[in-house]
């Protein structure tokens, strides 16, 4: 098979979905952020965002921490080392493919 085509077929399917890719791209640029930040930046609804985050957490790419700031509940999100590596590999693969 052509190398370029092979690079496309080897893309990470968890990250390749646009919503999850958007989340991973945003998280890759920060140390951590909260649910509200992602909600505003991605312009998804809460249900969609939660399900994508659950999928990313299941793959071991995102770490979700439920905490409080004062009395207000806060969900902290960060990319794991595995997630950061997967995102970098995805970027490299997509560059190689195009």
């Amino acid at each position: 098979m052509n190398g370029q085509l092979r690079a496309i077929s080897e893309l990470d399917r968890v990250l390749h979905e646009p919503g999850r890719l958007m989340i991973a791209a945003l998280l890759s640029g920060v140390k951590e952020c909260d649910f509200l930040f992602l909600l505003r930046e991605t312009e998804m609804n809460k249900g969609n965002l939660s399900s994508h985050l659950a999928r990313l957490e299941e793959a071991g790419y995102v770490e979700i921490e439920k905490t409080y700031r004062g009395k207000v509940p806060m969900t902290l999100l960060r990319l794991t080392r595995k997630g950061r590596r997967a995102f970098e590999e995805y970027r490299e693969s997509i560059l190689a493919a195009f």
């Binding site: 945003l26 640029g29 951590e32 909600l39």
Partner: protein, 275 residues
């Protein structure tokens, strides 16, 4: 090992020759154009992905907190200097230290207060990647930078004063703190403050100037204003620095205040049950 570039060129050449033989040149050109457009579209998508990675950095300065922090520092020092003069005849002149202390420690608290009470509840909490990595290193570099400037300034002042004493122009006993003449070193120090402030402002405005063109005006004001003030002011370095600090502080305050106003105008707080 097969040469992929050579193979693809040969394949392309064969396709072109076949198309010419069969009289399908228009069709071939159309296909090539479509392929090029698709490639550009895909690369465009990739560039958007790159932008998403950098997007949280824009979030950092969208509320004007950093600008207001710098305003606090400049205004604290300026007010401290003015208060020293005002309270000089009084026993409780030590109170002049309060604005200076605010100028030193205030910026961190101002930034933190704006982030905690306005920005995070409104548009969400973000911690930058660099916060973890480079804090001690950059803090150390900043401290060394300030110390370096202070040492160079002091040494040049002492040399200048010795030189003037040797020329019989002024007595060396005058205090370096209460009376520093406006010599070359003092002018260099003033220019350094102005240029550092302008560079910092330019750095903070990067990526925002297209949406907020008024920043260019403030930058020009920040650079030209101090020289205008200085041409009108009289006295030594200590007399000339407070109005310069006050002016820079007011420009930072204007910029930070406007940014905060625009942020509050353009964003809405989330509905009570966000999560």
């Amino acid at each position: 090992m097969k040469n992929r570039i050579r193979e693809s060129i040969e394949e392309l050449s064969k396709n072109v020759q076949r198309a010419i033989r069969e009289g399908r040149t228009d069709e071939l050109l159309q296909t090539l154009k479509e392929q090029e457009q698709n490639r550009k579209k895909k690369l465009g998508k990739f560039q958007k992905l790159q932008m998403a990675v950098w997007r949280p950095m824009l979030h950092e300065g969208m509320d004007g907190a950093a600008e207001l922090a710098w305003a606090t520092m400049f205004l604290g020092f300026a007010l401290g200097a003015y208060t020293v003069v005002l309270l000089k005849p009084f026993l409780w002149r030590w109170l002049a230290l309060l604005p200076i202390v605010c100028g030193v420690f205030g910026p961190c608290y101002v930034r933190k207060a704006i982030k905690e009470h306005i920005t995070w509840p409104r548009t969400g909490y973000v911690a930058r990647l660099g916060e973890r990595k480079s804090s001690p290193k950059w803090r150390g570099a900043g401290l060394l930078y300030v110390l370096g400037i202070g040492i160079v300034f002091t040494v040049t002042q002492i040399r200048e004063m010795r030189h003037q004493h040797a020329m019989g122009r002024s007595p060396i006993v005058q205090s370096a703190i209460t009376e520093i003449p406006m010599n070359q070193a003092a002018y260099a120090m003033r220019d350094l403050v102005v240029v550092s402030s302008a560079m910092l402002y330019l750095g903070m405005s990067a990526g925002k100037i297209r949406k907020q063109p008024w920043r260019v005006l403030l930058l020009a004001l920040m650079v030209s204003g101090p020289f205008g003030i200085d041409s009108m002011a009289s006295g030594g370095f200590i007399e000339r620095m407070p109005p310069l600090m006050l002016f820079s502080g007011l420009v930072w305050l204007l910029s930070g205040g406007t940014t905060l106003y625009l942020y509050l105008r353009d964003t809405k707080p989330p509905a009570p049950a966000t999560e």
